[in-house]
Amino acid sequence: MANPSASTRTEAFPVGLRVLVVDDDPTWLKILEKMLRKCSYEVTTCGLARDALEMLRERKDHFDIVISDVNMPDMDGFKLLEHVGLEMDLPVIMMSIDGETSRVMKGVQHGACDYLLKPVRMKELRNIWQHVYRKKMHEVKEIEGHYINENIQIMKNGSDDFEDRHLFSGADINYVRKRKDGDNQEHSDQEFSDPATVKKARVIWSVDLHQKFVNAVNQIGFDKVGPKKILDLMNVPGLTRENVASHLQKYRLYLRRLQKQNEGGTFSGNMHSDFSCEDVTGNFDMHSSTQMQQNGASSKYTFTAQKIQAQEMFSDARADDFKSISSLQVTGSKQALVCDIPDSQKVISVSRLGVLLPSKDMMLGAGKKSLEPAISRQQSWSGGIPVMQFMQYPKHDHERCSLLEDYSCLPKPDQEHQVLYHLDTPPSVISLTCNTENDMSGLSEFKPVHTNHRSSHTKTASPLSCMTDTLSVQVDSGSSNTQDYGVAFE
């Protein structure tokens, strides 16, 4: 299952296309592997969505495309789909024996670039490379736009004379275009031989960057917001209007889903429908936490967390506890949130939190009983706790599955997709560093929660500082508490 890097690929694209296949059915996995090998693709198989995500996170540039089944016991295929799309931005193809229009539609909604019906045929698999190609084309265009804009900005900023500026802009565009075309040629060729190149040039929405974005959005006012306004306010050199526009779109989608989720109501009650259809929120949160829990080193989140010294303070063991705690906290602090957050954000935060509880996928060691005390304890903590907790997901503990069983009695949104990857919810808020715009919005939502406890203003502060503050708070008063939590969940 080794995946040589792109640079060793000597034959023409799409030979050697690096495919990751995820399917809980071992028979299908074997068949698909054989079929893809026959297409001369490089195949890596995975029986668990979790493993697949971990693999993707560890080796971000080792895969060109992901094919995943919709129905998997450990994670809803749609959630995986979202995670991959947001974090790795790889094309994802869904598969299922169920060809119902609603399901296919859901796949497309969640970002699948194709939806194959089982039994899958060779000819369908032979063509999957087109999705990789298409994505590369789009990326090239984005970069193109980036270059052009950058040059325009430079020209505009440099010139005092308004007219001159226009002249420069116009002339420059042509110049840039010409140059771009030349660059493009090389670039296109390069893309296919080394997709990693294109990826590196993309805008990474770091925590800071996203924070600036959210600040700008809040400053302008969500209703009046527009990419240009945001771009100007952010004042980040090299950032293009296109970058902001697409980020804004994702942010909007994310918020909308959060709202729908919140409209769903209580945890147990409406989680069903909300989750089966609108579990986007959960998804966003999911991958951050997954990141946190699985891959401290490579995940930006963990890095951020480390920067904030959390790493030193919390061992893996604690992280596990925190994992449990965070889910609980979310539950518990729901009430706190309701009180403290300004209305719109409150709603959103709550709904996000709501996502956490019924997750069967929580992988938390805590038994149901121990949740209670944790929750009540949580409420006495500052809002920062969830943040901290969320960041403490370095490990993914398979043994602590008792929570899952305990929650099995809770009404489930969709039995087939009952594994809601809730763990991620909290961290995703913080996981701005990954291309998860949604998570970022989550973070912005959380900020008020945290800052409210610390200061009276409701304006969202930078997540990092906020987190730092909360973290330091936690650090100061937390050690003993964490012990408590540890106990609670053992």
Partner: protein, 151 residues
């Protein structure tokens, strides 16, 4: 020749499996995938299928014992099994899964139980038939390889 007789027998067995609806097109697809790299591909896949489906069937059995019955959970298990049956083209089995799921949707426990019995029977029958088929093929196999022109 002995071998050609066996080969004919095998071919006939396969044909009847198709005619009687036990297998469908997907099985041919599997045969197409078999090559020098994986000379026993079809048998391996079928073996894998029966091992995994046995597990799924026991999951369903356990789920059926639950009281009160959780139909959605049951449905999910059957859906899994159905997906699996499609991998080898186990047509009859797949259809029975569909019927089972319909009963689940109706929350008709009795229907589910009856369907499940049928399912288990179909599963056992198919397993037996395919085992005989592959046994026959194994007798025929080596000969085929020997008669093929060397690469």
């Amino acid at each position: 020749m002995e071998y050609s007789n066996l080969r004919r027998q095998a071919a006939y067995m396969k044909k009847s499996l198709f005619d009687q609806g036990y297998l469908d097109e997907q099985f041919y697809q599997l045969e197409e995938l078999q090559d020098d790299v994986s000379p026993n591909f079809v048998e391996e896949v079928v073996t894998l299928f029966f091992r995994d489906s046995a597990r799924l069937i026991s999951n369903i059995e356990q789920a059926l014992d639950k009281c009160p019955q959780e139909f959605s959970k049951l449905n999910a298990f059957v859906h899994q099994l159905k997906g699996s049956t499609s991998s080898i083209g186990a047509s009859r089995l797949k259809n029975e899964c569909t019927r089972f799921r319909d009963y689940c949707d109706e929350e008709n426990l009795e229907g589910c139980l009856k369907s499940f019995q049928k399912l288990k029977r179909e599963h056992a029958v198919l397993r037996q038939k395919l085992e005989s088929y592959f046994q026959l093929l194994r007798q025929v196999g080596p000969v085929e390889k020997a008669t093929r022109p060397s690469m």
